[in-house]
Symmetry: C2
Subunit: 338 residues, 2 copies
Amino acid sequence: MPTNHQIHLDNRPTGEAVASNFKMVIAETPALQDGQVLVRHHFLSLDPYMRGRMNDAKSYAQPQPLGQTMGGGTVGEVVESCNPRFAVGDKVVGMGGWQEYSVVDANQPGALRKVDTTHVPLSAYLGAVGMPGVTAWYGLVKICAPKAGETMVVSAATGAVGSAFAALSKARGCRTVGIAGGPDKCQYAVQELGFDACIDYKLHKDAASLGRAIKEACPNGIDGYFENVGGMVLDAVLPNMNAFGRIAVCGMIAGYDGQPLPLSYPALILTQRLTVQGFIVSEHMEVWPEALNELGTLVGTGKLKPRESIAQGLAAAPDAFLGLLKGKNFGKQLVKLI
Amino acid sequence: MPTNHQIHLDNRPTGEAVASNFKMVIAETPALQDGQVLVRHHFLSLDPYMRGRMNDAKSYAQPQPLGQTMGGGTVGEVVESCNPRFAVGDKVVGMGGWQEYSVVDANQPGALRKVDTTHVPLSAYLGAVGMPGVTAWYGLVKICAPKAGETMVVSAATGAVGSAFAALSKARGCRTVGIAGGPDKCQYAVQELGFDACIDYKLHKDAASLGRAIKEACPNGIDGYFENVGGMVLDAVLPNMNAFGRIAVCGMIAGYDGQPLPLSYPALILTQRLTVQGFIVSEHMEVWPEALNELGTLVGTGKLKPRESIAQGLAAAPDAFLGLLKGKNFGKQLVKLI
């Protein structure tokens, strides 16, 4: 069996996450038992939710156990199989974690899924045609509930979720506005992702100033907002929400290090009769087939061309992940392992 | 035509509302035109939402115009009629405002409604079988969406909304917990209104301490919360919400004077996958018949016996209203005019 490099969570962050929270470990992959397959990972997905799991706090996700391989989505190829449903050479998506190989009990529902790479590149199954894409789909379709002509806004606009959100929202005839950090991302959002406008939050010192820029970009107000960030951005968006607006709360990355992240004017939820709903896409598996079908078509027909930030080699994963938390990535953050 | 005492909004509050914001005025009632009726008010309703209308700010309600009679719900008797649908002696509920008489164009939909006082006292149509009761009904039934065995919580528990909430929630088989200010109100909530428990927020200095008391009273967590208050109370409730919990935001009286009222941990909306929804009952007229029917039955059969705080005479209205904002009332606050 091949030697397998893994990255473990060695200790929990106090405040900001740092590279020394992680440790590289070398392990042997065990011999396969009946029903199992051995997957060689081609790409590892890095996602903001992983920061939450590094804390030992009550949250929707179980904390990442110390001394074990960091969890995470992977795409790869079956290199050995003791399962009649999977053959060597099959391209698969699963939750293999931060390591080069994984042994998967492929009979467990949802543990491993074969994918077709004829029209969709393998890496896209970790992004636009994977969990981030379905996340955008659920928040937009099921919570923001867009009607043609309405205005939809998303923060972290050029990330994996934001870029899928843009394509899905434009397909529904909505004015679609992004919020992102820096002129490059904002230009890319408008020129490549199809956003009607994109606001650079880094140009604004406070929520009032950012709020004025949002107002200018959303002259008819905001009907649906998809929140990935929290903090100042949410404070700036809230006063621009139209009556009966919908807010999908998907992430609050600004607060993942544990600092207080208050919402300054919750009374706006009342005065504007807003619906604010938190969600986790893994709890809504019933929408995945419909969502993946639409997302696969958008990617296959070139209507959604999400950008990827690719780090090379497993050892680069921690730094790439820490960069993601600071918004240094540009598009879906991946680690290429092969 | 009779002489009519009115209370006008004379000037807007800066910070806390004060008695000198109001002015008593004497007016003549004009002669009736075709379709109009003259109503003599028996009771005037005082409600927290009126404080919001005293500000000249963007809100769901139009600001109360200066130099005009304060708006508000009234019940009374028709004393003169130029409308075939209303006869002298009819008991009616309407929005007559802070005055002794009103001239109503009774052909306008919703302007005036005849009520039956056989089983339900006239004043109840301003409380349990009126706007506050329907408010409790909408927030509970349509937003908190209770299932038997779940835990429902309401703040301002002994007010007009809270007491109706208790009867409606108990009727649905829910553990029903109130939050109120002072031992008298808490005792009354449990002994008379049917709450399973009531927490005195005045015993607690901060949200953490209040949160522990809530946890004790809600050992299975909270599935639905009806918010009338905001601030520290909401901060104390939020960490006790169960996954997929529902919060109906009806009022944030703690912030009506304009002081900041942040929500300390909005990230809990995500981690607990909550739905937080603001609403105004007047925008949901479609539920009123069903709600009033259930509420009328609860009152008529003695299952809902809401307490009333009655101030005597129109001149007492401003002080009674200011007391209501400070929680000095005990039950539905009314002004008796006759």
